[in-house]
Structure formats: C-alpha cells, structure tokens
C-alpha cells in the first residue's frame, strides 16, 4: 500500500523557487531518507508533507487521502524536530500526552500508550521530569516518544540527530532503526549526513536545488549513481573525479571511489603522498598526482606510507564511473 504520495509539488517563497516538480511514492513500512546539501529544499519538502508550509502547487496524499489542505494535526502524522521542541512548561508525560489530549482520546488509551512508549524508549524513570532536567539524548527520546504515542500513519524526522555528539548519534541511529523494525512504521527522515542516510534508509531520495536527483536503495545509489552529484555525495571519503581524457577513458570525467584505488608499481596514476590518516582499520592517503589533482585513497588495514613519498596508483576500469560534461552518467 502507498503511505505517502507527492505529485508535482512546487514551492516558492516570493521569487525563490525552492521545490521543483517533486514526485514521490512511499510504500507503507518504508524508511525513506531525504538527503542533500543544506539549502537543497529537503526540510521544506518535509514541512510541506507535515502541512506546516503550503505547497504552491501539487498534491500531497497520506494513506490514500488527499491532505493538501488539511491542517497538520489532522494529517495522521507525527514529527520529531532537530531542536527537540519539547514544551518547557510540561513534564515528560505532559509532553507526550498533549497531542492525545487535544485529539480527545480516552484516559485509559492515553495511559496505555504512554506506558508502551516509555518502555520502548526506557523513559519510565523520567516521566515526571521537566525537559530542562534531561540530557540531550533523553530529550530526543522524549521527542520520539511524543511522536510514537500518536500512532501516526507517517513519522517525519527533521535532522533529529544533528544536535547530539558523535557517540550518542551512533547510539540513537541504532535506536531509530530498531524502532522502525518494532513499529513497522512508515518514516520520512531528513538529514544532511550521508552516513545516516546510508545506514537507515530503505530508499534514499537525493535532492539538489529543489529537484530530486535520484531515488533508490543505498546500495543502488552507491553502486550505480545516475550522475556526478549523487556519486560524489554518497560515500565517505567521497569519490575522486579525474579528467577522463589523459586516462583514455570515455566521457569528460572519470569517477573512482577511494577504496577502488590501490598502490601498484607501474600504475596509471603517479603522484606524491601529501597526507596520511591512520584509522587502525583503514589508512587514508591524500595523493597529489603529477597532473595536480588531489586523490583520496582508502587502503584497508595498516600501511606504511609516508608524507612526501612518491606513489603509483592503479584502478580497475570496470569499477570506475564515466560522466559527461554535464555530470550525467555514461553507462557502458
């Protein structure tokens, strides 16, 4: 079943056209991630789905119903914000129950939902605390709890982890993935962090300048990008781009992932190591080639390269990507 359908969504703020002809179908139970650089319109699109912004044109359907003109509270959605946006004057329980009370749910139903959400997010001890007495991670869990108790048809997450530190972010990422499995809920998740996108999504929607660049599963986008933007945006360290001509490759630009480069005597690319990052599991090299391009090389395991050392690199042409002058992918 289709949980969310976007048809021809356009949005302008005055003269600025921020969303351009967006079409998308999200199936029930799917985890969809909108990803893109800042200013690409991903948050605006989420707010259009939530009903916090009106689309300039186009139709939003949630669960088959046209909700283009329905107010946010009646759309069957719940949203988790980057800044948590907890009600400062209410305790944790008050924060989670407010929406249900507004919707006129019966008291036993509310109590049962709170118990369920508190257990799921291990918030039982904190129900009587104010948001100001909680840590960042706990606040974010309360914000997620507030969304869960509404039992929405669609969860919307607006960069929920960007305010957390790295360790907590990793932890919450796993939590969110677990919640998605347990609830079987449909989730639309906005982030600028490609790691979050890759690890969480069933399907990723890559946006740039208000347009959808490509939609697909993380591995499909990684292994088979439609254009240079998608190829460069996903994957860390990001893909290397080289002028194709001197290498005798087709198209204008050749894209090679850092892990597909290897040190080889007599390799096609010659250069000097300018920086070495030792991560234990991997070693990343920054290499300036003789043609003055900078390449990132990802070597697995620990290697004994030194800054200033001359190095020859090679790649497998079958795993390289060719792009034309406009950045479109040239498929063999």
């Amino acid at each position: 079943m289709t949980a969310l359908t976007l048809e021809n969504i356009n949005k302008s703020f005055g003269d600025v056209h921020v969303l351009k002809d967006i079409d998308l179908r999200v199936e029930t139970g799917e985890f969809i991630v909108f990803v893109g650089p800042s200013g690409c319109g991903k948050s605006t699109l989420l707010r259009v789905i939530a009903g916090l912004e009106d689309a300039s044109s186009g139709t939003v359907r949630i669960g088959g119903k046209d909700v283009t003109t329905t107010p946010p509270a009646k759309r069957g959605i719940a949203m988790v914000f980057q800044s948590y946006a907890l009600y400062p004057h209410l305790d944790v329980e008050g924060n989670m129950t407010l929406g249900l009370k507004q919707a006129g749910e019966a008291k036993p139903v509310i109590a049962e939902r709170i118990a369920m959400a508190a257990k799921m997010l291990s918030l039982e001890e904190y129900l009587k605390r104010r948001p100001s007495e909680l840590s960042g991670g706990q606040r974010q869990r309360v914000a997620i709890g507030r969304a869960i108790v509404r039992k929405p048809e669609l969860f919307l997450f607006d960069e929920p982890l960007s305010n957390l530190d790295a360790a907590l972010r990793m932890h919450m990422r796993v939590e969110i993935a677990r919640l998605h499995r347990e609830l079987g809920a449909t989730i639309v998740y906005v982030t600028h962090d490609q790691t979050e996108a890759m690890t969480l999504a069933d399907r990723i929607v890559v946006l740039r300048d208000g347009r959808v660049e490509q939609v697909g599963s993380p591995m499909a986008l990684y292994n088979d990008p439609d254009n240079r933007f998608v190829a460069g945006f996903l994957g860390a360290p990001s893909m290397n781009f080289l002028a194709a001509g001197p290498l005798g490759a087709p198209g204008a630009t050749l894209g090679i992932r850092p892990e597909h480069l290897c040190a080889a005597h007599g390799g096609r690319l010659r250069g000097t190591v300018t920086h070495v990052e030792r991560l234990g599991g991997d070693t990343n090299l920054l290499v300036t080639t003789d043609a003055d391009a900078t390449l990132t090389v990802r070597l697995f395991g620990q290697h004994d390269h030194r800054v200033g050392e001359a190095i020859a690199l090679d790649y497998d042409p079958a795993r390289a990507f060719a792009f034309d002058a406009e950045g479109r992918r040239l498929r063999p």
Partner: protein, 279 residues
C-alpha cells in the same frame, strides 16, 4: 575565566561606581522618607537629620488621611495602572505575535506603523483626545485614562515583544500545531511563558510613567471620584503655602504600591524557565 573579573582593583572600581550610583539614586527618596516623619519646623531646620524624639511627628500622615479621600485615590491609581498594564501586555503581545509569526502582505509596513508611536509623544494629541472623550462621554472616568495609557504603551510593547518573539523556536510552535493546538493555545501556552522576561521589561517600563502621570488625570479625569494619587497630592501644594508634611507623606505612601509591583515584575525578569527546553 575572565581576568577582568578576578582583578581585585576592577572589583573595587566596579563596586565604587555602583555604590555611588545607588547613593545618588536613593538620596532624594531617603530625604522624602526621613522628612515625612518630622515636624514642619524640623524639616526646614535640618533637612538631612534623622527624626529624633524631639522632631518626630506623624502630622503629615494624619493630614493625608484626614484630608481628601486618599484611599480612593490610591485605589484609582492602582486600578488605572494595573488595567492599563494588562491591556498593554495582552494586545501588545498579540500584535507582536502576529507580526513575528505570520507572513502577510504589508507585515513590515504594519510593524513600522505600530512602532511610529514610540517617536511621537501622545501628549501632542491631548486636545483631540479631550474632544474625543467629551464626545464619547468618557470624561471623568477611569476608562478614559486606561484607554489613553494603553495607547501610549502599545508601540514600545509591540516593538520589544515582537523582537523577543522572533527568537522563540519555530520548531516549538510547529510541534504545537502538529499536536493539534490552536493558534491561541500556542500563543498563550507556549509563546507567552517563554517571553515572560520581555513582558516584565515592558511592564516595568510602562508602570512608572503611568503611576506618576499628572497630565492626563488633570485633563481627562480631575473629578473627585476619579482623582489619581499624583493628582490628589497636588491639593497640598499651594501657590503661596505648601503643606510639606502632607506632600512628603503622600509621596512616601505613593512609593509603596509601585515598589511592590516592581518586585513582582523584576522576579519574572530574573526567572527563566526556557533553559534547556529548546537547545
């Protein structure tokens, strides 16, 4: 850690400046208070001496209590001040919310128009206001004063509050919308508590001039039943003879209620419940 704060010389200098200012500010108030408890002759003989057994006298307070209806004046001043403040805060906050929250045509123009009142003193329009009050039959009512003071206070209130409301997190308001709160509920339950310090600032700024005003009570409501405290005190100041005991006592009494209001508002100024709710 800030080194300027740790330097003892800086601490001493800062405290010296603050103490000097406090003494200058409190001196007239102290003189009024001290002399209100002295006999008339003692006031002129040694204005700065504390009242002793010889010079102590409650004559001023007795005159104030006997002459005129001071309790009523107190009540009038209190009603006018509190009602005006309530209206200023309510309408000012509502206008500020609309200006800061909603995108509509002419938003900026409307904001400028509302702020114009900060630059134009309302007293320039006294004659027109008086005519208006005569036409509407509001002369010699407290309502006339409340209306004028509300109009006088609104521009600054809208200006200050809209700046503060712009800083209230959009996410918080949107969370309320998704939870099904009405715009009024968002305004009263989410936004107002967060701008409480700004509301207190506006209240304090408006309270003192309203309480002390002599101009509009004299022109719009000089009747015995609607006299405010400041106007009422004028009966003791004559062209040839001034009953200083009574004037000083009346002024001393007039300080008290406004002091209480100030304490209430300034506690709000200091308190902030917003910390931690929105990162």
């Amino acid at each position: 850690m800030n080194t300027a704060r740790r330097n003892p010389l800086n601490t001493v200098a800062a405290h010296a400046a603050l103490i000097t200012w406090t003494v200058i500010a409190l001196f007239p108030v102290a003189v009024i208070l001290i002399n209100s408890f002295k006999a008339r002759k003692a006031i002129f003989r040694e204005p700065l001496a504390l009242p002793d057994a010889d010079s102590f006298s409650m004559i001023g307070y007795q005159t104030v209590m006997k002459q005129g209806d001071f309790l009523l004046y107190f009540q009038n001043s209190f009603v006018v001040t509190v009602a005006s403040l309530l209206l200023i805060l309510l309408f000012g906050a509502m206008a500020a919310f609309a200006l800061s929250e909603y995108r509509f045509r002419g938003n900026t123009l409307m904001g400028l128009y509302l702020a114009l009142g900060i630059m134009i003193p309302i007293r320039i329009g006294t004659v027109a206001i008086l005519e208006l009050m005569v036409e509407t039959g509001l002369v010699n009512t407290l309502a006339a004063l409340i209306l004028v003071y509300t109009a006088q206070g609104l521009p600054l209130a809208v200006f200050i509050l809209s700046e503060f409301m712009r800083q209230v997190s959009d996410d918080l308001k949107n969370a309320g919308r998704i939870d099904g709160m009405s715009e009024y509920a968002i305004f009263f339950k989410l936004v107002l508590p967060l701008v409480r310090p700004a509301m207190a600032t506006v209240a304090v700024f408006n309270m003192i001039p309203i309480w002390n005003d002599l101009w509009f009570p004299l022109i719009l409501a000089p009747g015995e039943a609607t006299k405010t405290l400041t106007l009422g005190s004028q009966v003791f100041i004559g062209q040839f003879v001034t009953d200083w005991n009574a004037v000083l006592s009346a002024l001393s009494l007039a300080i008290l209620p406004v002091l209480v209001l100030y304490v209430i508002f300034s506690r709000q100024l200091i308190r902030g419940i917003t910390s931690g709710a929105v990162k």
